[in-house]
């Protein structure tokens, strides 16, 4: 159907989007790469106009050997892993529950999805103050009611608290996608298994879970990409203190607080590599789906 003329017209129509994204990707990326090999401290008078000193890979080795690097990797892994575990497990259970016949299903769905639409700064501040404040938060009221000592959540259990906040934000996403996947499950297969006397747990393990495998993978990959760059939730709750400094936050501090652009850029390159490893897997799955 496509003629030569319509092909070149199609290319013209695609050009603006492609050119814009290419520029958006390449220009900052090349600058970051360049800075990562230089000594670039704007507060000490370094600037692009005066020329930056080439320092080879020393920023890279300094970033890795700094005492805050490995803790930040650990924090990142705990945060991403914790949120993934909570949202996927609870998401599966919740999706299976919401798939059952009940009264007011539409309203429950709306209630469950709502947190996803709350802007990150609002959810972080609401949790920090209204719920987790050690003096006036709801949790402290609850603790005192049961005669327990209120907990200073964001100081004493800072990392778990942030995991909790972020999980609350992302549980709706996981639930919604898994629910969509569950609804495409052939119910006759389940009924046949039930008549053959397969117990509920076996039906779940051998029929439901395999059916959800693809959706679960997609949830994990997409969430990982967003979770690796969690920022606002840390920024407004702990500001990176009390062991909540992730790799993203460490880079942010190097670049903005200490204005060490060379070092921060080297960290940025590490973060880009990390994100790309995850991205490759996601792209494979999405790409496979394009053929069908």
């Amino acid at each position: 159907m496509a003629t030569k003329a319509s092909r070149s017209a199609a290319r013209m129509m695609m050009a603006p989007a492609v050119v814009l994204l290419l520029g958006w990707m390449l220009v900052p990326l090349i600058m970051t790469l360049w800075f990562s090999f230089t000594k670039y401290l704007p507060l000490r008078g370094d600037s692009i106009e005066r020329g930056l000193d080439w320092v080879g890979f020393s920023n890279y080795s300094r970033f890795i050997s700094s005492s805050s690097f490995w803790p930040s990797i650990q924090t990142t892994l705990i945060m991403v892993g914790g949120v993934l575990l909570i949202t996927v497990v609870l998401g599966i259970l919740l999706a299976m529950l919401l798939d059952q016949p009940m009264w007011g299903q539409g309203v429950v769905r709306i209630l469950v999805i709502a947190p996803f639409f709350v802007m990150p700064t609002v959810s972080a501040l609401v949790w920090k103050n209204m719920l987790m404040d050690p003096v006036n938060g709801i949790f402290s009221h609850l603790w005192r009611f049961f005669g327990a000592e209120p907990v200073a959540w964001l100081q004493d259990a800072s990392l778990s608290s942030i995991v909790l906040i972020v999980s609350w934000q992302w549980l709706p996403f996981a639930t919604l996608i898994l629910l969509t996947a569950i609804q495409s499950l052939d119910s006759e297969q389940l009924e046949a298994a039930e008549m053959d006397g397969a117990p509920a747990l076996k039906r779940f393990w051998f029929i439901v879970l395999p059916h959800l495998a693809r959706a679960i993978t997609i949830v994990i990959l997409i969430q990982t990409i967003f979770l690796l760059s969690i920022f606002a939730e840390i920024f407004v709750t702990t500001g990176g203190a009390f062991g909540t400094r992730t790799l993203t936050y460490l880079i942010f501090q190097r670049v903005i607080d200490s204005q060490n652009i060379g070092l921060g850029s080297a960290g940025g390159v590490y973060a880009i590599i990390l994100a790309n490893i995850v991205a490759i897997f996601l792209m494979r799955i999405v790409g496979k789906n394009l053929d069908t």
């Binding site: 989007a17 994204l21 900052p28 970051t32 919740l94 209630l111 709350v118």
Partner: protein
């Protein structure tokens, strides 16, 4: 053969689902409720669920003390502007990929998606430098362009999956009946594409409204949208729960309402068509 569901089982599922639903919704409910209390009532122990004097004072104070409307307006302009810009750039691209696919279409789509995975913090300084160079720091226009670019892959993808669903035979039939290209576009394609475009606009407006990395890092006093306005509440001064609640409620209410309309498209938009 549909399975008969016992009423008893339905009651149990309903109770369980509502309990969990309300529990998940509680922080939002509590914020909205607190916004109508006085500051003293907001921190009352035990917490007040019903018996308090409803007041709108907090809303007035928030507006008066921090010029809330300015931030709201910035959010509307930035989120709206970036969505419109994105749609204008994306429609022709998605259109041509859906209707005149080539061998490279798939690669281009995947490459576009890959730009979305670049961690923002990795390019924070270069972008700030470019913003300083072109006097874009703390301007709505600059932020509009950045948000357009970060959401462009999602917009192209969503539109592409919608356009793909428009059957090509209808176009051929229209052509057979002697429709000109203009008529074909205006009377055949556009009406079929509008629902998809509308969902795309909705979801991207929401994403842009809630974006909280670039909006926090590239704005100061003039162009700061609601995300930055709310973040300024992170250093409390005295009693402020009720005011924080009022500010938060105003920031999330419009999006909650839009979000409920877009929940069906959410899955498609955020999984790039991989889960339908």
């Amino acid at each position: 053969m549909a399975r008969a569901v016992t009423t008893q089982r339905k009651i149990i599922t309903t109770a369980a689902a509502w309990t969990i639903g309300l529990l998940i919704f509680f922080p939002i409910y509590w914020t909205i409720l607190t916004s109508f209390k006085t500051e003293a009532q907001a921190i009352n122990d035990p917490p007040l669920f019903f018996a308090f004097d409803w007041t709108l004072e907090n809303y007035a104070v928030v507006q008066e003390r921090s010029d809330y409307m300015k931030f709201l307006w910035n959010s509307v302009i930035i989120a709206g502007g970036s969505t419109i810009l994105g749609i204008l750039v994306a429609i022709p691209a998605a259109w041509s990929m859906a209707f005149v696919p080539s061998k490279r279409t798939k690669d281009i789509l995947l490459w576009m998606l890959s730009t979305k995975m670049l961690p923002a913090v990795g390019v924070l300084y270069p972008i700030s430098l470019i913003f300083v160079e072109f006097n874009l720091l703390d301007t709505r226009g600059g932020l509009m362009v950045v948000l357009m670019l970060i959401n462009l892959p999602i917009i192209v993808w969503m539109l592409y999956t919608y356009f793909k669903e428009i059957p090509g035979e209808i176009l051929e039939a229209a052509r057979m009946d002697g429709a000109t290209l203009k008529e074909e576009l205006l009377y055949v394609l556009t009406p079929m594409a509008i629902p998809g475009i509308a969902s795309t606009v909705l979801l991207n407006f929401i994403l842009a409204w809630n974006e909280a990395f670039w909006t926090l890092n590239l704005t100061a006093a003039n162009a700061a949208p609601l995300t930055a306005f709310i973040a300024s509440y992170s250093s409390p001064e005295g009693l402020f729960f009720a005011k924080l609640s009022a500010a938060s409620t105003m920031a999330i209410a419009p999006i909650l309402i839009l979000g409920w309309f877009s929940q069906k498209q959410l899955v498609r938009g955020l999984t790039f068509g991989a889960v339908k």
